[in-house]
């Protein structure tokens, strides 16, 4: 049987694409954190001076997304078919809420991503603050004002916090699960990988939420 269609192969495809996306999540917040130093416009301008890096990265991410969604859907359908009848009484001993709802948090993150791209990459949701058509005093796209003006609306900030919670839950199961799929576990390392995955997921959630919350609280303006 071919690697990508085998039971373990499919899981490895999920793990590798998931890990690529998780690395991007880390890179993305590290870059976005320049907003706290009022250096977001400078960061973005510098980043776009590396077109090979930006477009190469986008291509890798697009492929990772497509394969992650494809294999996630295939696995979910196969798993669903393998357990057609539910128990009258169900009790989970070790399976977590995050793990059991991985597909749904994944769907939430996917839907959010479309909105996020329309809002900040294609800048079509609120043309009045679109950075590409509203440069700052130095002539750079004014990403900072676009972000601050957007998050001042409590509804938008709320959507972000809820979506980030879904992302956090997705990572809570995904990080530790990906290492197990790679076979990088034994009795001693499994609890360490699980705890590290949990801490990283919670930290990323808090770190990401810090931006909309700082703007709502008026700390960033």
């Amino acid at each position: 049987m071919l690697f990508p269609t085998s039971a373990v192969g499919k899981k490895i495809m999920m793990a590798i694409t998931g890990q690529v996306l998780a690395l991007f999540i880390l890179f993305h917040i590290a870059g976005n954190s320049t907003i706290f130093f009022h250096a977001l416009n400078a960061y973005v301008t510098a980043l776009y001076k590396l077109p090979l890096f930006v477009w190469g990265g986008r291509l890798v991410l697009l492929l990772a997304f497509v394969f992650h969604i494809w294999y996630g859907t295939v696995l979910k359908l196969e798993n669903h078919a393998a357990k057609p009848e539910p128990y009258a009484k169900t009790r989970y001993l070790q399976a977590t809420f995050a793990g059991r709802n991985q597909i749904w948090t994944g769907v939430m993150v996917g839907v959010f991503l479309v909105y996020h791209l329309l809002q900040f990459t294609f800048q079509v949701t609120n043309p009045a603050v679109a950075a590409d058509t509203h440069p700052d005093a130095l002539g750079r796209p004014d990403i900072f004002t676009m972000v601050v003006q957007s998050f001042r609306q409590i509804g938008i900030a709320g959507v972000y916090v809820v979506s980030l919670a879904a992302l956090g839950l997705h990572l809570l199961h995904g990080i530790q699960s990906s290492f197990q799929t790679w076979g990088m576990n034994n009795e001693q390392t499994l609890p360490v990988v699980e705890k590290t995955g949990n801490v990283v997921s919670v930290l990323l959630f808090v770190w990401y939420c810090a931006i909309p919350i700082a703007i709502i609280a008026g700390i960033l303006k």
């Binding site: 690697f3 192969g9 499919k10 490895i12 798993n79 357990k83 128990y87 530790q176 699960s177």
Partner: protein, 248 residues
């Protein structure tokens, strides 16, 4: 003690099946779970009703024949205990118990609480063995096995193939069972020779039999009456990657 039971009754694989309420009266706390069902069945026979069909064999916790889902947990609430070794003292008087068969597409119900676990045999047949050349018995100590490896192989070999891992898995996956067999043989020099072919064949057969994929929920480990660890699933994954890398 007295108990209220809701037992899954299903005449055949074609019957839709349903939960039926029974009262288990004057149950001794020293009885095993299966003995409690024996008592209920005796009452049913006296009343002229069909007794509840369930699997059992050794009743010593080593054959892997018994297995039902009690209140949502395969083999009941006690850790590392088969249903036949689960005693009624672990329940309280007037408890309500839901007793259901192991559920998975690959384990069709034959009757009441009995399921067909033949899919496990198919997985074993696909590679869960070593090919040996017949001949003279080898001299003792000609094939030395480090204690550490022997211990791990024995831990994996503890699997009795009861199917609780499949019953507990939200995906109906047989990864813990397959991983135990793959790991057991891959740890030993006799089994290493065919390790690559084995892991590919057994995981493929697992899918062919209609089992799901592993989502790393670890419910299997929590209910395994022999305490098989999910580290063996990681080992199976490693063996699979190794097999793919070497093109075996």
């Amino acid at each position: 003690m007295n108990l209220t039971l809701y037992v899954w009754r299903q005449k055949s694989s074609k019957d839709p099946g349903r939960l039926v309420q029974y009262e288990a009266k004057d149950i001794s706390s020293d009885m095993s779970f299966l003995e409690m069902l024996d008592v209920v069945n005796e009452g049913l026979i006296v009343k002229g009703e069909e007794p509840i069909a369930f699997d059992s064999d050794c009743r010593e916790g080593i054959c892997g024949m018994c297995g039902q889902v009690v209140n949502g947990v395969p083999h009941g609430p006690r850790k590392k205990t088969t249903l036949c070794q689960l005693h009624m003292r672990h329940f309280k008087d007037n408890d309500t118990l839901y007793i259901e068969p192991f559920r998975a597409k690959a384990f069709p119900v034959i009757k009441d609480l009995i399921v067909d676990r033949g899919a496990f045999d198919k997985i074993i047949q696909s590679g869960g063995y070593i090919s040996v050349h017949t001949g003279g018995v080898p001299d003792g100590n000609t094939l030395l096995i480090p204690k550490h490896d022997a211990d791990i192989a024995m831990d994996a070999a503890e699997c009795i193939g009861c199917g609780a891992c499949v019953a507990a898995c939200p995906n109906g996956s047989a990864m813990l069972f397959t991983a135990a067999k793959v790991s057991h043989l891959a740890m030993l020099p006799q089994g290493k020779i065919e390790a690559a072919r084995r892991v590919c064949a057994m995981t493929e057969e697992m899918l062919a039999q209609g089992f799901g994929n592993c989502s790393n929920h670890y419910e299997c480990e929590a209910v395994c009456p022999k305490g098989i660890k999910v580290k063996f699933i990681a080992k199976l994954n490693r063996e699979f990657i190794k097999a793919q890398m070497t093109g075996s």
